[in-house]
Symmetry: C2
Subunit: 450 residues, 2 copies
């Protein structure tokens, strides 16, 4: 039986980065990655294959960084794990011994089994599988009336892309008051909806899907709770993702209430020498210390770097306790981004907070071509002025501006410090130095503490 | 004689922000701003009036935030200061008493008196004056052969804008090996030159101006050190700026070797109750602790906020000692940005450093429309891994990405911390999470320390 020092199950971003980082740190150790499909996809790029990228192959992602570092790849499926003897078996009958085992099994779409008609022909999901998405793209190309169920990031992005085909009628159904309501406070989420309504998307919020209606076993319409019937030849259900942890559960690893494999801050499971990383592993909110459920490639890769450096010893201390979710997206050329706490999460966690806001433009003077409005909101602890969250609505610069806020949160920057910090500005690139949005938002928060 | 609690001399960014911040903090105190011209300009926007902005008035900036906060304005010129009696007199004969006095007198172009012909008709400067720039714009509109002397930020930006008029021949002369060589290390400065050469600008580096040649007292050509003669009907000399500190010098305030008014970290001069802020005041390099000469609106406004909060008492501690210069610009749609130490400054200050680099694209997958290359370089102290500088060459996102680096420097983030930090990524906005440029550059630096 062949033995590897490290076996990684899964070849998404967390598997690739764990493998590439770990192998570079430990060139003498042998690494094997076992993944089910040869071709992979950039997970967050999937919505864009439906329009902007034109071809699914444009969004391909393989384990090249891992292979280049000297790792080996096997396309197969792990079906059995023997924790005691540190061995595993695959569907094709291979057996391996391991010293360290890493679950990087990712996540899969939640299936809305509670909606009648969820299993009809014409009801699809955004599964992170190359072949599945290629087939789904062909279906969307043919479809005329598409209903997307779920106004989270994936649902909104897929709907936005499909609505760029003006020949199609695209509807989006969200049960909450606003789309993206888990990532943005009410005022920013309201802006999200305004932007969505400015596209060709027909948006139904505050509305549940009652039933998916059929004609000879095929989807014909979606019936909403308020009685609205939306004609449909294709339904894409995007109501969330759940960790792929069937294998881990079956072979005795500890699983939490969100179906995630329980890990500590060095990604260690309850079994020695076994780790879990990325969407399949548990996360802890950085403010509350409570278990939460963040599934983002950026979070997964941060965890994977920590694991990659620390597979054999704790080499690189984890510098930030807990998971900071940093979200960003672009809808109809407007960027929305958030990091850390939003008003709802702070409120629900019983955290005392104040809000600092500022709105300006992202060029100066604002008469320059390409200028967008830029709105920044900071969530601040009034006790010490620590920044615990931020939200942005603006142009493309918001994509990196949210990382200034993210770094500020992780490094425990207070508004008092931020106000006297030095920033870089340029007419063609940023707000004016006299009213740089982050600093003005910090000043606004400070004025509320006094 | 009318008395004001605070009198500010100058109405540029530092005067406006000192006044607006100070008045908001002290609504019961009376504030007067004395400035020489009614209309002001966004200083860093000046190059763009020559092409992109079309009209000089599009780049106007007035003291509105200060007036809105309740400050008073006088268009006049201070000609005399009596430190002992705390009074001043103006050109128009007004006299005022003050409790606190603020120099915010800014900077003016250095005149190349060492070049024969510097005073000919047709030799102009980038003076921060509305009326002067309006007149200069008319001259550039008429000129056919323009020579810009000096490849610093202003010279490069003015040349880039003028070269957008394809009917004009625009030449740029820089005596150093590369343009922007004070803000970028050699490898990045070389990229700057490559981009400049991709425009219609004729670039002459490593070349001094020997003489400005005339025809009946008017400019006709520029003669370079290597004998090249460049035909010219307009010369714009942009060889740097110097603090406007004649008034302060005349009335006994301490001036340093760079002609700047000497201040401490709360912008206090050597005379009690008198402050200086912005380009006219001295700066201290954050790494070396030595006096340097940074003149940037972003630095000026950071100082102005510190002063505004602390005019009457130290209310808000200065959170970062020394001046961090953060530069950014865009040349022919390529963004260049730097923060803190570059290789030359680190070398000259005898600082031990290592470099971490990474290059990728600013979208993921890179097949998305609008993708630019993105190169990041970090300057790192090998002893503790602290980030002391960074440089970027990329698309527009570099304008805020440099502020992530700037915050990291100011908050003393190490590469070890950065590697496990969580960042936000999105296909349309950033590098991929698997190879986010900052983290990869930090990893590259770390690999050199081991």
């Amino acid at each position: 039986m062949k033995k590897y020092d490290v076996i990684i199950i899964g070849g998404g971003p967390s598997g690739i980065i764990t493998g590439a980082t770990g192998k570079k740190q430990n060139p003498d150790k042998s690494f094997l990655m076992i993944k089910e499909e040869e071709k992979g996809l950039v997970p967050c790029g999937i919505p864009y294959v439906f329009h902007d990228l034109k071809e699914v192959s444009q969004n391909a992602m393989g384990p090249k960084p891992f292979i280049d570092a000297g790792g080996e790849l096997l396309v197969d499926k792990v079906v059995k794990i023997d924790k005691e003897n540190k061995t595993l078996s695959t569907q094709k009958g291979a057996e391996f011994q391991y010293d360290k085992l890493v679950f990087a099994t990712g996540s899969e779409p939640s299936i809305p089994t509670f909606i009648q008609g969820y299993d009809l022909e014409g009801v699809e999901y955004i599964l992170k599988s190359f072949n599945y998405i290629e087939s789904l793209k062909q279906k969307t190309d043919r479809a005329e009336n598409i209903v997307v169920i779920g106004g989270g990031f994936i649902g909104v992005e897929v709907a936005e892309q499909l609505a760029k085909f003006t020949s199609k009628t695209v509807s989006l159904v969200e049960m909450e008051k606003y789309c993206l309501y888990r990532a943005f406070s009410e005022d920013v989420a309201a802006r999200v909806d305004t932007v969505i309504r400015s596209t060709n998307i027909k948006l139904f919020t505050n509305n549940k899907v009652q039933e998916i209606l059929q004609n000879n076993g095929k989807v014909k319409a979606v019936l909403l709770g308020d009685g609205t019937e939306i004609k449909a030849d294709l339904v894409i259900a995007s109501i969330g993702y759940k960790p792929c942890t069937g294998l881990a559960r079956e072979f005795g690893f500890q699983i939490n209430e969100n179906s995630a494999i329980v890990v500590d801050r060095y990604m260690r499971t309850n079994v020695e020498d076994v780790f879990a990383v990325g969407d399949c592993s548990s996360t802890i909110g950085f403010i509350t210390g409570d278990s939460d459920s963040v599934m983002l490639a950026s979070t997964a890769t941060a965890e994977a770097r920590i694991l990659g450096y620390n597979l054999f010893h704790i080499n690189l201390l984890r510098s930030f306790q807990g998971t900071l979710a940093v979200f960003s997206t672009e809808i109809n050329n407007v960027t929305f981004a958030s990091a850390g706490a939003i008003e709802q999460t702070a409120h629900n966690a019983n955290i005392n907070y104040i809000v600092g806001k500022f709105e300006d433009v992202d060029r100066h003077p604002g008469t320059l071509p390409g200028t967008s409005k830029l709105f920044v909101k900071l969530i601040v602890s009034p006790q010490n002025g620590a920044i615990i969250g931020g939200e942005i609505c603006g142009g493309k610069s918001a994509g990196e501006l949210i990382n200034v806020i993210g770094l500020a949160i992780q490094k425990r920057v207070t508004i008092y410090e931020l106000i006297s910090y030095q920033i870089g500005t340029h007419p063609l690139l940023t707000t004016a130095p006299t009213k740089y949005v982050l600093i003005k938002a910090a000043e606004n928060a400070m004025s509320k503490i006094k």
